[in-house]
Symmetry: C2
Subunit: 160 residues, 2 copies
DNA sequence: CGTCTTGTCGGGAATGATTGTCAATATCGG
DNA sequence: CCGATATTGACAATCATTCCCGACAAGACG
């Protein structure tokens, strides 16, 4: 289990112990063991995961965490902008956000998310901003569609 | 109000009786009175409205419609792509979609939505498409942020 | 004209994710 | 070691949404 936090864990992985603590502090949360576990469990996931899903995962690994804690932690991280929030099938899902400007390409088939760096597309974003003084949140741009993999596996243009 | 469907109503308004029927048919729904009322009530709204909210509104106007019907109709319209779905405060909200490509600028403060026509921004969208073969849904691009009005009314950069 | 068929409707119960409550517990400064 | 403070978790409560099912309307058909 995670009973001993060995130095072997110190590679610069998303789940690195230091990294996790830093992120938690950035969200204004003290890095308690439970919160760490929640964030660590989230960091391993590539797709947005629901709070309950995460809770089950943690429990299965033998970590004793309450549902409330999972919800609270995720909610706080989301408020701090450290994780991005997606809604799918009437369930709120969370995904650890990479730092820096990027858009999210959300596949409505599989629910997967690709991050698409902004940068050279700044012009477009600026154009949007100009429209009525709207100020976009750089991390909160969602393009929905169907990802390449789903397109390949399930035909070109299904009636849906 | 809409009590008498006089010929005067035949301007190309969103709530036109013909228009409503057409849209319903487009969604594969026969234009029954209740469904018409739901769609008409939706058409008047500029901001995304929740199903229950719409139900209350209809009831208050003296129209006897069941909750189920409202949910069912909205859901069907959404599936057909005739209305766009937004989620805010853990409530699914619907908004009648203008035809043609456009993005949605969603204000996270007031929940308002502006439609921003695509067109000349096609290049950007194409760039996105190139990324891993992702095929975006032209109506399902959501840019979140804060709208000009909210910015003006509530200060420049509140801590949120 | 009466009946059958099919689709629609509404009310209320059931579902399921999320949040609130509150006592128990851990943490930290001194 | 002690008290103040923050955190935690079990469980109840909430609330949007869906399910269920009997009732009903309109057209088809004999």
């Amino acid at each position: 289990m995670a009973s001993h936090i060995a130095p072997a864990d110190r590679h610069s992985h998303d789940g690195s112990a230091d990294e996790v603590a830093v992120r938690l502090r950035a969200a204004g949360l003290s890095p308690t063991p439970r919160r760490r576990r929640v964030l660590e469990a989230l960091a391993v996931q590539r797709r947005p995961v629901g709070a309950h899903e995460l809770y089950v995962e943690l429990t299965r690994r033998g970590h004793r965490v309450g549902v409330s804690t999972v919800y609270r932690t995720l909610s706080a991280l989301a408020d701090a902008g450290l994780v991005h929030v997606f809604v799918r099938d009437s369930e709120t899902r969370y995904r650890l956000c990479a730092p820096g400007r990027h858009y999210h390409l959300v596949c409505r088939r599989c629910g997967g998310v690709q991050e698409h760096p902004a940068g050279d597309d700044g012009d477009w974003l600026d154009g949007v901003t100009a429209a009525g003084g709207f100020r976009p949140d750089p991390h909160q741009i969602e393009v929905q569609g169907v990802c390449g993999r789903c397109l390949r596996c399930q035909g070109d243009d299904p009636a849906d």
